[in-house]
């Protein structure tokens, strides 16, 4: 089970929960399971079968570069945050 930190704008969908434990061997599976449990969440995260432009998924300590294919270790933390730009 991954430990998903629910972004503030999705907490209503998650019944006010700030963290949820969700199964999934990959980020794709995890998001499908999130959607099954909290309908409407997927469209806030995924667009055209990939993470929405401008959104980053942090898996463990680092933003993932494998997108929805990212493999998840058990007990991994998952965060959805704005993608960081730079100058």
């Amino acid at each position: 089970m991954a430990r998903v930190f629910v972004p503030y704008n999705m907490r209503k969908l998650a019944g006010g929960k700030t963290e949820v434990n969700v199964p999934g061997k990959t980020l794709r599976e995890l998001i499908e399971n999130l959607e099954a449990r909290f309908p409407g969440m997927k469209e806030l995260i995924v667009e055209d079968d990939r993470l929405k432009p401008g959104l980053a998924a942090i898996v463990g300590e680092q933003p993932t570069r494998q997108g929805l294919m990212t493999k998840l270790e058990p007990e991994t933390e998952v965060h959805f945050l704005p993608a960081i730009s730079g100058g």
Binding site: P7, G54, R65, L81, S85, G86, G87
Partner: protein, 768 residues
Amino acid sequence: MVATRKPATGRPVNGKHNYKVIGTRPIRHDGLDKVTGRAIYGADIKLPGLAHGAVLRSPHAHAIIKKVDTSRAEKLAGVYAVITGADMPKADNREVDLGEGAANLKWASNNVMADDKVNYRGQPVAAVAAVDQNTALQALGLIKVDYEVLPAVRDVREAMAKGAPVILSGLVGDDLGKKVKNTNMARHFRHEFGNLDEGFKKSKLVVEHEYELATVHQGYIEPHNATAQWTADNRVTVWTSTQGAFAARRQIAGILRLDDSRVKVIPLEIGGGFGGKIPVYGEPVAAVLSRKCARPVKLLMDRKAVFESTGPTPGGTVKVKIGVDAKGKMLAADADIRFESGGYPGSPVGAGAMCVFAAYNIPNTRIDGYDIVTNKPKSAAYRAPGSTHVAFATEGVVDEIAEKLGMDKIDFRMMNSAKEGTRRADGPIFPKIGHEECLAAAKNSPHWKSKLVKNGPNGKKRGRGIASGYWFNIGLKSVVTISVNTDGTAALVEGSTDIGGSRASIAMQAAEVLGIPAEDVRPVVVDTESIGYTDVTGGSRTCYATGYAAYNAAQSVVSILKERAAKLWDIKSNDVDFKDGVFFNKSDAELKLTFKQLAKKLDETGGPVSATGSVDLSAAGGGYGIHIADVEVDPETGKTDVLRYTAIQDVGRAIHPSYVEGQIQGGAVQGIGWALNEEYFMDQQGRMSNSSFLDYRMPTTLDLPMIETIVLEVPNPIHPFGVRGVGETPIAPPVATIANALYDAVGVRFRQAPMKPGRVMEALAGKK
């Protein structure tokens, strides 16, 4: 002031490693071309049949375009083409991923050429291609535009005020997940951890203040430029000054509704960017002009256009509230960050929100971020975008709390410092970071240990300030190809445009692996058809990610060369070892070949040797900086002089220490300018009143002492040489550092930047 720069020798910064090339200071590969004027910049481009373009820009900050009459301009002798918004392809209303961040193509298109409305003064409304520049400019004067002028919204407060004019009628704002219409607020998001109310309730001391920063420009020396040729086979070639040829290609192709592969971007030398040369401006306009007149078209901006039409970093407000217990332990922190995005959504408020408390370990936090549309040029990245703003607020409050508790400024920061395992206020846990090491180095620095005489000559007051700053640093995609020459040198091909000496630092990482001198690796930056996809030179990623790709390519070259040596010695490649540039037979020490010797034998062992390294990296390891400033304030004039300035930074590993120091010094200087002088001075109608370098006052060498640098190496565990990003962190602390120094000097806490003489005089008068 005596500089503490290291001598330009081959001495490593800390001397703790055994690298042969890394840590030395070779002459940059592109240095001769640049000092002799041979380097080719955008303005140098000449092509057969070249037409010269000019852009008509809106004189109004906010207006509806009722009609554009180009008929007289089109009839002028020597004019090849005139375009308006009607000539631009209708771009999709969708976001595209630029590798770092995203761009909405419709807004990006309107930003380079307005269709029915202008959202800031300087926004393009028409463009001309002509036989020469004078004719093009003359034609602009013949274009008649009817505007319906609307009231201008100049800052976040005006934009959020009840009844404020709505700038983008089609904008649907996102207010914590709720859709909002008829608003200038594009986005309001929140990060929240722990129990904020409980944290403040338990606090013995709570300090809260609002800070305000003016809009400032990156101030790169080279204005934007673009030359484009749209050929009959529906392909577009663009020569331009850009921080990322591939990011430029994606934007140009998106705006022109072409496949990426139909656009070729040739990046030229770049005279500074600092984030401001990631967006495109003239490129799609020159392309549409080129399609219309069937000639290549060149567009050059002047300084006024750079200020008024390209992305500055946003002005805005940052409110920070921090609570501590009786011993000074931080218990709760709250931030409200409001950035102006300019005429279209997309400020760096997301990054600011992620940086605001990144230096500290605080159990209960809430951060609200607002992206707010105003009638100013669309904001762009500027070195650690958003981080300077939030450091100004957080470090001001932190400084005040330390003082109220009677604690040493560094000890207080150290006590609350983030470290490996700390959960950031936006959620993720920090890996190995170097904030504590930077604080320790600051405390131990000659500057901090020195005594400051508080009273200067003629009644001048002196003070010392300190502040922390943080930037993430990013990874992303890079590709490098290395080919071995038979004379024992290597050619290195990369897609990262070289802004701050990255050719040298990337070549050095390859040279280290290949065991040859840095000068024997010849790096070249090529176009989008000559190398694999490479993300922008930005986010402090180039030395890290493109360096990593060079490392991988060089490792592959070494593997191939081991096979060649094995062939020569008739042994298995596993029996060949490689160290310090020498291949040798593991079982016969007398059988050895240097890299140079083996390179001569390529033809007889299988032909050319080349290899490509490709990476897509998650992060570059966040970087911290601590800055210390001594200032002297003249109470007669309000002028502040910086007497001494030290920047301490964890860089992971300094590949080329001179360029690392240069990056740190450059960031500090830009931050000092932001603190003391720089601002977009807007009149009541939303027009910038100081759009020249004469009136927009950036610091020069005459204004500042040598910036002393203390380069710390806390190796980044996820890079083969321990590299972290360097270039952006140093602009995060300066505004806060100067404000804290000013307080120490005159006893007034400044919460508005710039802290210009007039503002200082007002504050001193108020104090009396």
